[in-house]
């Protein structure tokens, strides 16, 4: 039963990643947008480099949030047209498998985005790295939380005509705790703050777990209503 769930989830994730590979939307549009956000911040705070360095963790997550919203939007835009939503309902995939599959594909695309944004942070904001393990744990768990939340709200906005504008309005406030916890943990990882970062990683883990549980329960009804 669980094996089938993960096999189906892998099938859905593979399909989404294949679509991304064929269209290159994340690589050609989303990553440049994320880097552009960082460049804009670098120009805006150029006069005060220490402020830029101190704000680097938050600015990193702001870039992830805005550019990542496009990744989520794109992930569900491909499910809308030509009767595909109906076909998914009839497909035989369990809603939980669809949820995990969509979230997994979003996660992979966000990780690619974040690698580019981290390079941007180091180059543009003059940030050093003091705890690589904390950096990896924060970004992986925070990204998983964002991807799971995105999959829930992407499904919620699936049948809405104005989803392009509605999704950011719904998603960004909900992932604000990830922005907060992720920023605090990265401050420690970058050596900007002496506060322990792992407590925030714990918070991110709880948030991620809660959204995983909500998504597994709610994705089916959300797909029905879309």
């Amino acid at each position: 039963m669980m094996t089938e769930l993960f096999v189906d989830a892998a099938r859905v994730a593979r399909k989404d990643l294949l679509i991304e590979w064929r269209t290159r939307v994340t690589i050609n549009q989303v990553i440049p947008l994320g880097l552009l956000i960082e460049v804009v911040f670098a120009f805006a705070f150029d006069a005060n480099r220490s402020l830029l360095e101190q704000g680097a963790p938050g600015l990193f997550w702001v870039g992830v949030l805005f550019a990542g919203t496009l990744v989520v939007q794109r992930s569900f835009t491909v499910e809308g047209p030509d009767g595909i939503t109906d076909a998914l309902r009839l497909s035989g995939f369990r809603p939980g498998a669809m949820f995990l599959g969509k979230a997994a594909a979003i996660f992979v695309e966000l990780v690619v985005l974040e690698v580019a944004l981290l390079v941007g942070v180091v180059v543009l904001f003059d940030v050093g790295l003091s705890d690589p393990l904390l950096l990896v744990a924060t970004t992986v768990i925070g990204t998983a939380g964002f991807a799971l939340t995105g999959a829930i709200y992407g499904a919620l906005s699936l049948g809405v005509r104005v989803r392009e504008t509605l999704l950011p309005l719904l998603l960004i406030p909900v992932v604000a705790p990830i922005l907060l916890g992720g920023s605090r943990a990265l401050e420690a990882a970058f050596g900007i703050s002496t506060q322990p970062g792992w407590n925030w990683v714990g918070l991110l883990t709880v948030i991620t777990g809660v959204y995983a549980a909500i998504g597994l329960v709610a994705f089916g009804p959300l797909m029905e209503e879309s």
């Binding site: 189906d8 099938r11 399909k15 294949l18 679509i19 064929r22 269209t23 491909v78 047209p81 030509d82 009767g83 595909i84 109906d86 076909a87 309902r89 009839l90 497909s91 035989g92 995939f93 089916g220």
Partner: protein
Amino acid sequence: MRVAAAGVDRLRGFMAPVIDFEDTVVLLGRFPALAGLTMSVDPGHIVLLRGSNGAGKTTFLRTCAGLLPVSQGRARVLGFDMTVSRREVRPHIGLLGHGSQLYDDLTVADNLAFWGGAVGADSADQRAALEAMEVSPRLWNISVQKLSAGQRRRVAIAVLVARRPRLWLLDEPHAGLDRRGRDLLDGLLGAAAAAGATVVFASHELDRAEVVADTVVDIGGGRTLAATSLPRGTAGEGTGPDDD
């Protein structure tokens, strides 16, 4: 009205109906798109739904697929009570609507692998389905968005074939197909019914549809108006209008 035409294999009379609706009401918002429809279809039939625009044909097909909730009355499809377990019937259904239900950015083969794989169709099944609809192998690795409307329709039908549904629900299935494509589709529907599947389709192309179907059900105002048995056996001979 019971669709169990004369001349149908006697064994089928002992089987439970594939579709069994009695005074079924389905609301679209507040509008009763099905307003007390009663219909029973036995296995192995090819049923043509006939009716004007807004008669309730598409709503009936979508209700049978478990995509719309039943508000009142009795409704069973493939033995599933649609008032309580309409999701369970879905993997056994093949629904072809107005859209192609294909991912534009994936290739023909990718689409077959994804949709067919969901119900366990292996690569041989997928290849056989494409060959059955005479989708040229040179198109298999082309993205769907580059196909013509007719080719997309053929691929969409191939997906249904690969999924081997027990109940085929088709809304204007001949639309967009050339004459050869229509002949192939008619042949597939006949073969599916002969293998024990049940086919229900809505069409306005009556000359061709009435050749394929063994039963015609007239629908109007969300109700069944009449059911008529037809002789079967001329499907696939290309008697429909030539619109190549």
